[in-house]
């Protein structure tokens, strides 16, 4: 959830009421504590009030779960849920702390409070990465694709590269039988190739039909180079490759350019571009993990807090 000036209205709508509620509860607590001359505990009326509100907040935060399962029902737009979740979740921590009277108490309340702190911290971490990483991705990963389609797009890139090479220097002698079996290649004498194109602010793939040319002296060099980079184009940084790192790739492609005919330079440009794309995909994969792996931790902690909260309420009532 982004917290920015553009969404001020959305956030203020929840932040102000929550802040007011928290401030009122804490004021009441401090007044009673001042009157008592000590930090009153959860058994005092103001401590209990703070505890009840914090508990209610924790339970309402957990309502996000059923809401997600019932996505198809119109249960208030999700952005309002998220804004409420954010500000109420933040408010639950100070309320829980004053409910404890600034003591950890026994093992149960202590565990509960520590878990709550961890939950809130994981949420704050999530909020932070959600505010930073999408912008970073927008600037640094122009070729990003849908996360679980990375493999598909990579395989497509390999097919494109293969066709480009066929166009540039003829079919790979080593795998000529495979090429003969491809009905699109031979009868038409042309291949359809894809390349990344940027026009203004738009970036995307274009398809072009080009005629197949046979027998240039650098055919074997180019195909051999392609054989070296193909595993990387398919698997990314999971395999060792000379083009895995950006600086290494520059050096490698420079040597390839020197070894090849001048007419092959545009093809090498496209190959290098596809390697850059694959590197971006790898980076996207890592950033995606940063952006999303906190969530299972946050959910796990939240579930633990909710269970312990139930036990805490039960024991508190039992031994009142």
């Amino acid at each position: 959830m982004i917290v920015s000036r553009g969404q001020l209205k959305l956030h203020l709508g929840f932040a102000i009421p929550v802040a007011v509620l928290t401030a009122v509860c804490m004021t009441l607590y401090f007044r009673q504590s001042l009157a008592a001359g000590t930090w009153v505990g959860g058994g005092s009326w103001s401590g209990l009030l703070c505890g009840v509100i914090a508990g209610a907040i924790i339970l309402s935060e957990m309502l996000l779960w059923p809401r997600k399962a019932l996505r198809r029902f119109r249960l208030i737009p999700t952005k309002y849920w998220m804004a409420a979740h954010l500000w109420m979740g933040l408010a639950s921590l100070p309320l829980a702390i004053v409910h404890c009277g600034f003591h950890l108490g026994g093992w149960l309340p202590a565990t509960l409070l520590i878990l709550l702190v961890l939950t809130v911290l994981s949420g704050v971490y999530g909020l932070a990465v959600q505010n930073v990483l999408p912008r970073w991705m927008l600037r640094h990963l122009p070729r990003e694709t849908i996360y679980n389609q990375i493999q598909f797009v990579s395989d497509q890139a390999v097919r494109d590269a293969r066709q480009l090479l066929t166009r540039a220097c003829g079919r790979n002698v080593a795998s000529i039988e495979t090429a003969v079996a491809d009905p699109e290649l031979l009868p038409a004498g042309a291949v359809v190739v894809g390349a990344v194109r940027q026009a203004g602010k738009t970036r995307g793939k274009t398809l072009q039909t080009r005629h197949v040319a046979e027998g240039r002296f650098d055919r074997e060099t180019l195909w051999s180079a392609f054989d070296q980079i193909e595993p990387y184009l398919r698997e990314g940084d999971r395999v060792e490759s000379p083009v895995r790192q950006s600086y290494g790739a520059d050096r490698w492609f420079r040597r390839l350019r020197e070894a090849c005919h001048e007419e092959s330079q545009p093809v090498i440009d496209v190959l290098q571009d596809l390697c850059d794309q694959r590197r971006e995909f790898d980076l996207q994969r890592r950033v995606h993990r940063l952006l999303h792996t906190w969530l299972p931790v946050h959910i796990g902690l939240s579930v633990a807090v909710t269970i312990l909260l139930g036990i805490h309420v039960w024991t508190a009532l039992k031994f009142w």
């Binding site: 959830m1 952005k79 927008l138 602010k201 999303h292």
Partner: protein
């Protein structure tokens, strides 16, 4: 050709050499093209489009053009790359149709089987034989010729089976009868039971043939029942090639060909696969085209379609009785439509009875139906303002928090669309329509824009409400097409003239006077996408107002071409070139210009309709209404000033991609703000959850600045996807934007192919059929001992969650406020102000 001329290493049939070596007379009227196909030697020339000749058919002398423009199956003229119509020679059948078929339902004196006027003629069945007498170098000569492929010539005398010359008619009738009897012997069912709509049987009946005098062949070609929709009876196939042309030429599916030879020749699907296992998309065009019982829709399919349509009518709360194919075929207007098409679209025509004061259709509503007037009188109300549906801030708490709501607006503020009270015509200018006008409400079907008028019954009446696909079928017939074209042109102009943008400075009274002055002078012009309307530097001869579509205005500056602007419906252009020729005072104002020439190039971005006013009429208009001059000059000077300022910039309108990608047409783009989007895919999941597990959006697409235009239906102003659906399962109704695909979609994939943005997808759904009780039930099959539903492909697209509550789930479910619905123009504005 001597054998010495062919070297030994040459193939036996050297296609390359053929073009030079085959002389026109080698194969009579025909030669072979590079594929070895028989073609006519003579090709029509553009000049022949303007040349006329006279001939006599059945004693009636008529004058026709030597050539006519080639048309596609919908009657649209086919143009060459330079924009000139491609000519084709006028045939005897064309001439006879023109002379004898004046109104829908009039009989043509020439019977046909393999020929239909929306298909290219191939002359294989010879049922359309006529006796043609013409002057040849060897003297006067009479021959029996197939009229569908035989060109007309000066002084030609033609006799058909209905000729008043009894002897000639008998000769033609005898020859035709032999052909028909031969076909009957082999291809009419032996039990004599033929399905309604069998054209072979109808031709035999017309010729008075009860039974063939010939024995049937012993060869059997079998049946194919593998398709779930169409049954193929090869025994009844007369190999007329109509199915083949329907599949390959009309629908471009390229599935049907031929296999075998001699008596075993038959139509084949792909590489002679069973129909159900071939790449056939089940669009139904082959069965609709078939003149015999060789390709028939299965009764279960027809019953299921009708049941679904009935359900749909009931769900929409529409009244009216479904008119059956048997009843419809009796109406002259529908007599040109194949019976099987009417059967295929079992509930495509509904009879509605109206009382005085009942509203037939409302202005601003999207519609996919037209109304054939059977009885009664109707009044047409025009408000002259087009409405639009927009997202605007919602009221109340959620509005304060940034929530949106969908509202109907028209220029000048909020309005209830289709407001009957918005009529802007005086009492003496009431527009009344009755039976003589044949049809109402056809414009929305033809141009896919919202309805342009409200129609109210003035006394009790009856109409037949027909779907868009029935109207398309009517367009295949030239007589019906002429009626539709005439009313379309007349009504398009009528509604627009008083609202022309140049009349803004006139009083209401003067506006009507000016409109009346232009009434017979303005013309309606259609322009194809990409076609240039005029070029920079051309002589200025017309003023244009855009009725439908968008026009790109660009200027050449050295080698570069800069897009200056794009104009939508309601805008005028072309006035600067005309104003600069209006005498001294005008010349002073435009001293930098070459008088009377165009200052920019204008080209159509999509299908454009223009109101064209001749330059002389435009100048006369300015003479009659001098108050028009100053505002026009001011506006023209402002445009020129802006153009001059833009010349110093690289690109005045940062929108090349915006135009290339067709975003100007978009009314509801799904736009994701990538600075906010955390790629959580909640939008996609919510979409899938809302639509039975099938998502209707893909979170991938073009980027404009920080915005991603996701692949989801854009609700285009002019939706190409609506064109040509064989069962009219895809349409837009009411006053909302969504494109609806009904459950009775047959899964042919045409809409998916038509969508230029890939936003319609085909998905498999359990197939349903009606059971004995008339209820729809899922059809199951057993595979490896397991009972599994039969899967049928169906098109799906974003319906803006209209089926739920009209609030798109993707936007509703986005937790980060990153998903928006907006028009293309709003997106452009946002990216330009970043």
């Amino acid at each position: 050709m001597s054998s010495d001329a062919v070297p030994n290493d040459r193939p036996m049939f050297d296609l390359g050499a053929l073009a030079e070596e085959v002389l026109p007379d080698d194969e009579g009227l025909f030669a072979r093209d590079v594929d070895g196909q028989l073609i006519r030697v003579e090709k029509a020339t553009a000049r022949e489009l303007d040349e006329s000749l006279s001939l006599t058919i059945n004693g009636e002398t008529l004058t026709v053009r030597k050539a006519v423009p080639t048309r596609d199956s919908q009657g649209n003229v086919i143009n060459d790359p330079d924009g000139a119509p491609v000519p084709r020679l006028t045939t005897i059948f064309d001439a006879a149709s023109r002379a004898f078929v004046k109104r829908p339902g009039d009989p043509n004196p020439i019977p046909t089987l393999c020929h239909k006027e929306h298909l290219p003629p191939i002359g294989v069945c010879r049922v359309c034989l006529v006796e043609a007498t013409e002057e040849t170098p060897r003297g006067r000569r009479s021959r029996l010729v197939p009229s569908c492929v035989q060109r007309v010539s000066e002084g030609m005398i033609v006799h058909t089976i209905d000729s008043p010359d009894r002897q000639a008619a008998a000769r033609v009738r005898a020859a035709t009868s032999i052909v028909v009897e031969l076909l009957m012997a082999d291809h009419l069912p032996a039990d004599g039971e033929v399905a309604p709509g069998n054209e072979l049987s109808a031709v035999a009946h017309r010729l008075g043939i009860d039974q063939s005098r010939f024995w049937a062949s012993n060869a059997h070609r079998g049946c194919d029942d593998s398709s779930k929709m169409i049954s193929v009876d090869h025994e009844q196939c007369i190999l007329c090639g109509r199915c083949q042309r329907g599949c390959n030429w009309v629908k471009h599916n390229e599935v049907i060909g031929r296999s075998g030879k001699g008596y075993q020749t038959r139509i084949a699907f792909d590489l002679d696969d069973p129909m159900g296992h071939s790449s056939c998309v089940s669009c139904g065009e082959c069965a609709v085209s078939c003149p015999t019982g060789a390709l028939e829709f299965k009764p279960t399919f027809i019953e299921t379609q009708i049941a679904r349509l009935r359900d749909e009518l009931r769900k929409d709360g529409q009244d009216g009785d479904i008119v059956t194919a048997d009843e419809l075929i009796g109406y002259p207007l529908f007599s040109g439509i194949p019976y099987k098409f009417l059967q295929f679209n079992g509930a495509a025509v509904v009879r509605r009875r109206l009382e005085a004061g009942d509203v037939l259709c409302r202005e601003g509503d999207y519609g996919s139906t037209a109304f054939v007037i059977m009885d009664g009188e109707f009044e047409v109300f025009l408000s002259g303002t087009r409405g639009a549906v927009r997202n605007r801030p919602a009221g109340g708490f959620f509005g304060w928090l940034g929530g949106l709501k969908t509202v109907a607006e028209k220029v000048g503020g909020k309005a209830k669309l289709a407001d009957v009270g918005a009529a802007a015509l005086g009492e003496n200018e009431r527009i009344i329509r009755n039976q003589d006008d044949v049809i109402l409400g056809e414009m929305t079907c033809m141009n896919r824009y919202p309805r342009s008028a409200t129609v109210v019954a003035t006394r009790p009446g009856e109409v037949l409400e027909i779907k868009r696909n029935v109207l398309y079928m009517l367009q295949r017939n030239s007589v019906s097409r002429q009626i539709l074209d005439r009313v379309y042109r007349e009504r398009s102009l009528r509604g627009q003239l008083s609202g022309l943008p140049i009349f803004r400075s006139l009083s209401d009274e003067d506006k009507l006077k000016a409109a009346s002055f232009l009434r017979d002078k303005a013309d309606l012009v259609s322009v194809d996408p990409g076609q240039t309307i005029f070029r920079q530097g051309d002589l200025a001869d017309h003023y244009y107002v855009i009725r439908l579509g968008f026009v790109k205005i660009s200027q050449e500056d050295g080698l570069a071409q800069r897009v200056l602007n794009y104009l939508g419906p309601g805008n005028g252009f072309g006035e600067i070139g005309l104003l600069s020729t209006l005498g001294d005072r005008w010349s002073e104002e435009f001293e930098d210009l070459r008088a009377g020439t165009r200052t920019a190039t204008c080209a159509a971005l999509d299908h454009v309709e223009l109101i064209r006013i001749d330059g002389d009429d435009f100048r006369e208009l300015l003479e009659r209404f001098p108050e028009l001059r100053d505002p026009l000059i001011r506006e023209a000077k402002e445009i020129l000033r802006r153009d001059a300022a833009d010349r110093h910039r690289l690109q005045s309108l940062k929108s090349d991609d915006f135009l290339d990608q067709g975003l100007y047409l978009a009314q509801s783009l799904l736009v994701l703000d990538l600075e906010r989007c955390t790629r959580c895919d909640e939008c996609t999941k919510a979409c899938a959850d809302t639509h039975q597990g099938v998502t209707r959006l893909v979170r991938e697409g073009l980027r404009f600045d920080k915005y991603l235009v996701a692949s989801s239906c854009r609700s285009c102003l002019d939706p190409y996807c609506l064109v040509g659906c064989p069962v009219d399962a895809i349409h837009r109704n009411g006053d909302s934007l969504e494109i609806e695909i009904e459950d009775y979609c047959i899964g042919c994939g045409l809409c998916s192919d038509n969508c230029p943005y890939g936003n319609i997808n085909m998905h498999g759904f359990p197939k349903q059929e009606v059971d004995a009780k008339g209820k729809l039930r899922t059809v199951y099959q057993e595979i490896d001992g397991r009972k599994l539903p039969v899967v049928q492909q169906r098109a799906t697209t974003c319906d803006l969650c209209k089926s739920i509550d009209g609030k798109p789930s993707c936007v509703y479910a986005c937790p980060h406020d990153a998903a928006f619905r907006m028009t293309g123009e709003e997106l452009l504005r946002r990216t330009q102000t970043q």
